[in-house]
Amino acid sequence: MTPTLPPPDDKTSDASMSRRNFLRGAAAFGGLTALAASLAPLRQLEDFSSSEEFLQKYYKELTPDDMTKVISRIEREVQKEYGIRPHVRDLKPMDGVEFVYCLNLTRCIGCRKCVHACVNENNQSRNPEIQYIRVLKMPHGSMDVEKGDHTYEAKSVPEKGFFYMPVQCQQCQNPPCVKVCPVNATWQEKDGITVIDYDWCIGCRYCEAACPYWARRFNFTKPEIPKERLNPNMAYLGNRPRKQGVMEKCHFCIQRTRAGKYPACLEVCPVGARKFGNILDPESEVSYIMREKRVFIQLKEEMGTSPRFFYYFDK
């Protein structure tokens, strides 16, 4: 099996030895030059991470003082980028509040206004496009999402023979996305909202693979938000502009709902199909709906995720 050995080399002269050593050095130098040059695109890296952001502590470990500093850093960065001084707050969950969303499938006409109101409220990237709500046009009689059409466009909706089902983060009581995050960058707050610390996420997209509702979005590049459409009312865990390479998702408009207001998708709905409120308050409209209406659908109930987002019918 052993191949025949090549004949022994000529006796190597000193001159040729040193020439070879020189050439080894030259090749090594060439290699190092190419190595340095291969990193040339990195010169375009703009504000990838300031040292302040790089060293920032985990959200739950930030003291109030730290948070003040973080907020002023974010305000500074937003002003520099968009020329608008935002109002960033770190809104905490309220006591005795647990949010529930109810969506009336009888009413929804599939106009997609909620989709765009959400984008506008939550400073999502317009290019490439990030949207938290996906409206499915479904043939009458089926709840099989695979039969849904995501890209319908019509001069007149609703179209005959179809119903429309908007899907967004279901704010699960048992969220699979939270369980899988390797760095605890996403968690469920006590008012039921699953939030993301955009400054802690490492962008592995495991949560995106884990979500049975396809509710999570990734910033594949630097988000693009036109200055004139920037919403300056911001929250740390909410709609402040995101960075390239991190996850985001619907957070029930934390910057509005934790200040007592309705979410943006609800306010824009022309048919009142969307209902939101505190399920712990028996007087709230969602408590009323849960009491009075008959059929609720928790999407993919068999997943055991227990969504706080209920689909219902009223006729």
């Binding site: 090549p6 080399d9 000529d10 190597t12 040729s16 070879r20 050439l23 030259a26 090749a27 060439g30 290699g31 030059t33 190419a34 040059a37 040339a40 695109p41 010169r43 375009q44 309220m94 006409i109 106009c111 997609r112 206004k113 765009h116 109101a117 984008v119 506008n120 290019n127 490439p128 496009e129 996906r134 039969k147 849904g148 059409d149 995501h150 890209t151 466009e153 019509a154 007149s156 909706v157 590049t221 036109p226 200040a259 007592g260 207001k261 309705y262 609800l266 306010e267 824009v268 022309p270 048919v271 009142g272 409120g277 505190n278 409209e285 009323y288 709906i289 009075e292 209406k293 009223d314």
Partner: protein, 214 residues
């Protein structure tokens, strides 16, 4: 050629290749490897949150022109206007009221103006049992037939809301029936859908509804 010389040639060649590669990296360093597509900004009409209709109460509140409600500017008091029907028993809308499109109830069955308007006093409305109701109290009128809807509306479960869910922090702004429904043709009109989503690279992905999954 001795093996040593061959090695030297290879080392020399490698140096040249490495330097060439370095040059290539520098030259192409500014190129963007992904060609982005341009997505137009969504038309602001799709972001509009105002109610689709304005009610009598809205006009009063805004202090605007109420001449449309000045019925006795044309009609004569104490003399209810007659209602005429065509051969199909459809109401003939007089040309003075050409803005009214009749379409309340299926099969045009609800086609008597005095089901809601008060024939004795055109400035008010009347519920089914004859009670008089003002133009500013439309839910009571509608609810006299649509009881469950009134109940839902009162609980906040029917109709549009905005403002505050938390009433200790602010008021909820609840729209009235006629803010969304045209009382003469209450079915919500169809509308244009806002633009469909764009996927990152290709079409956003759609499955055509198919007869069976199996």
């Amino acid at each position: 050629m001795s093996k040593n010389t061959v090695t030297q040639y290879w080392l020399g060649a490698l140096t040249v290749v490495f330097l060439g590669l370095g040059g290539f990296f520098i030259v192409t360093s500014a190129a963007h490897p992904a060609t982005g597509k341009k997505i137009p900004l969504v038309d602001v009409k799709f972001l509009d949150r105002t109610a689709s209709r304005r009610t009598y109460a809205d006009l009063v509140k805004a202090g605007e022109d109420l001449s449309d409600y000045d019925c006795y500017g044309c009609h004569e008091k104490g003399k209810p206007p007659p209602i005429r029907y065509d051969a199909d028993h459809k109401i003939i809308v007089p040309k003075e009221h050409s803005d009214v499109v009749m379409g309340h109830g299926s099969h045009d069955r609800n086609n008597l103006c005095y089901n809601c308007h008060n024939e004795q006093n055109l400035l008010t409305l009347q519920v089914r049992d004859g009670h008089e109701v003002g133009f500013d109290n439309i839910p009571q009128l509608c609810g006299s037939c649509h009881g469950p809807n009134l109940r839902d509306w009162e609980a906040g479960a029917h109709g549009r809301t905005s403002g505050y869910w938390n009433h200790s922090l602010g008021a909820a702004d609840r729209l009235s029936c006629a803010n969304c429904h045209n009382p003469h043709a209450p079915r919500i009109p169809t509308r244009e859908s806002a633009p469909a989503p764009h996927s990152l690279h290709g079409p956003a992905g759609t499955t055509t509804p198919h007869e069976s999954t199996h």
